[in-house]
Amino acid sequence: MAPIIGKAKAAVDISIAYLTGIRHLFHRPYTLRFPQQRYAVEKGYRGRHLLHLDRCTGCGICAWICPEKCITIVPRGQRWYPQYFYGRCCFCHFCTDYCPEFALEETVEYDIAEYTRDRLVWSPERLSKPPVKKDDKYVFSVDTIGGASQVPQKEE
């Protein structure tokens, strides 16, 4: 008798497993079609750096604290500024934390991949430009009925 009960229970459990999976055929997807659909990160995200040229004194504390040695201090006329090599940067943003003059800032720009190695070297002038506004509008949202998925951000 016992084997029959065991087999029946196994059949029920397998059916439940299949039904659980089938229910999710109609679930909204978790993934985005990057770069057509772009994920919007919030302010405070540790993307590439923004350098305020007027505040920077060229003291070099950012280069000292950088764990990956990706910052070089380069001369520009009478002054010195940091230059970043993003091929090495690990985006820990200790440089931003340690800057005594608040000359460095995090930006929400996260896609800075380039085709050549040279383009990954960001000069002080390039770092000082604010990020270009892109069509980032998808956010990760959880609601109790539809579940978790990436949805377009609500217009404010």
Binding site: I14, A17, G21, E68, C90, F94
Partner: protein
């Protein structure tokens, strides 16, 4: 006490040999590029399809992190220390800052302690989910591969709001943490953990109650309580063998003494028990996260700590997702440590790999092996 297994030549790729009694065995090399072993090699000797000898061959992803730490100051070391297990970054980071604070004598503000605990528990869930997804695909269950990896996004996104980074946070620094809670975080955390607990019930229905899994996991890879203690196992591997050992309870640190949670143990010591310990821990972590966002005190998040490591010795340890992670740190007055010994949970659990595999069939190897939650990068450091 059985006789120790005879050594297997490390150069072997595939060979047969005949013992004195006339039985023929075959030596197989699983890894290091095998999808079923990760970045390591298991040299398995089989008689028919029964495993008679196993020799783990780690070291393919050794990076010399202990030496790198000696050459950098204590802040610069933080991103390096996270690298062995980026899916469990903040727990490893916590062991490091604990050992530094012990030498420096810095006390962390209570709000900072709560924020550390919050990120640690989120990391524990993320790490267990990663483990679960690999476990699913090892057993040929593709849905169980996709779902946990998708649900990790719940907590990755939450951690991104808190720390600014998705995986490698560098959030814990000596003296406290780097950022305060963003507005609206508490409601979002409660909503997501409640949703995630519903998802865990679905995991049970599709995988853990599924006979396709239970018939392959129950009674496979048994590690007895005595053997687990003898081998020095830790973390879910030890608790899956029925030993109630968790640093969060035994030696409470950060905000754990003020939080209410259970340590999950299972008595059987087989692959199923170890898997269920992971599931129970994710449920407990959800409870802890909700308690933290409710009880978090106000006040400063960080106290000023010098960048200098005074002369002294410290041992800082935490319960990471894969077991006890510890630092033995010697300071000599400069900004760099004289020596830092770094031991992780996977390294301690490596001894259990032969113990759970011996006597099983080769087809049961993925179930038994991955239930230990051995992460080669973390073990090699």
């Amino acid at each position: 006490m059985s006789a120790p297994p005879k050594p297997v030549p490390l150069t072997t790729v595939e060979s047969t040999e005949t013992s004195e009694s006339g039985a023929q065995t075959l030596t197989l090399s699983v890894g290091p590029q095998h999808s079923g072993s990760g970045h390591m090699r298991l040299i398995v000797e089989v008689d028919g399809d029964i495993i008679v000898n196993v020799a783990p061959d780690p070291g393919y992803v050794h990076r010399g992190i202990e030496k790198i730490i000696e050459l950098r100051n204590i802040i610069k070391s933080i991103p390096v220390i996270e690298r062995p297990s980026i899916i469990d970054a903040s727990n490893l980071n916590h062991a490091w800052v604990r050992s530094i604070e012990e030498i420096q004598g810095v006390e962390v503000p209570r709000r900072g302690q709560y924020l550390r605990t919050l990120l640690n528990e989120m990391n524990r869930i993320m790490s267990h989910l990663y483990w679960l997804s690999i476990y699913g695909v090892f057993l040929g269950h593709t849905t169980m591969f996709m779902w946990p990896l998708g649900d990790r996004e719940l907590f990755i996104d939450l951690a991104e709001k808190l720390t600014g980074a998705r995986i490698t946070y560098s959030y814990l620094v000596p003296g406290g943490v780097r950022r305060d809670l963003p507005p609206g975080f508490a409601e979002e955390a409660v909503k997501r953990t409640e949703y995630f607990e519903k998802r865990l019930k679905e995991y049970d229905r599709i995988f853990f109650n599924n006979p396709l899994f239970t018939s392959r996991a129950k009674g496979i890879g048994v590690l007895s309580k005595e053997k687990a203690i003898e081998l020095g196992c830790t973390g879910p591997t030890l608790r899956g063998s029925g030993v109630d050992a968790d640093l969060r309870k035994d030696e409470p640190y950060a905000a754990y003494p003020e939080l209410d949670f259970e340590v999950s143990t299972r008595p059987d010591g087989d692959s199923f028990s170890r898997a269920m310990v992971h599931m129970d821990e994710m449920r407990e972590s959800c409870k802890i996260i909700r308690q933290i966002v409710k009880k978090i005190p106000s006040g400063p998040i960080r106290r000023k700590a010098p960048i200098v490591l005074p002369r002294g010795v410290a041992y800082g340890r935490v319960e990471s997702a894969r077991g006890e992670c510890s630092f033995y740190l010697i300071g000599e007055g400069g900004d760099k440590p004289y020596r830092a010994r770094y031991i992780t949970g996977s390294y301690r659990n490596m001894a259990a790999i032969p113990a759970v595999l011996l006597g099983n069939r080769l087809a049961d190897m993925p179930t038994a092996w991955w239930s230990i939650d051995y992460w080669p990068v973390e073990a090699d450091r």
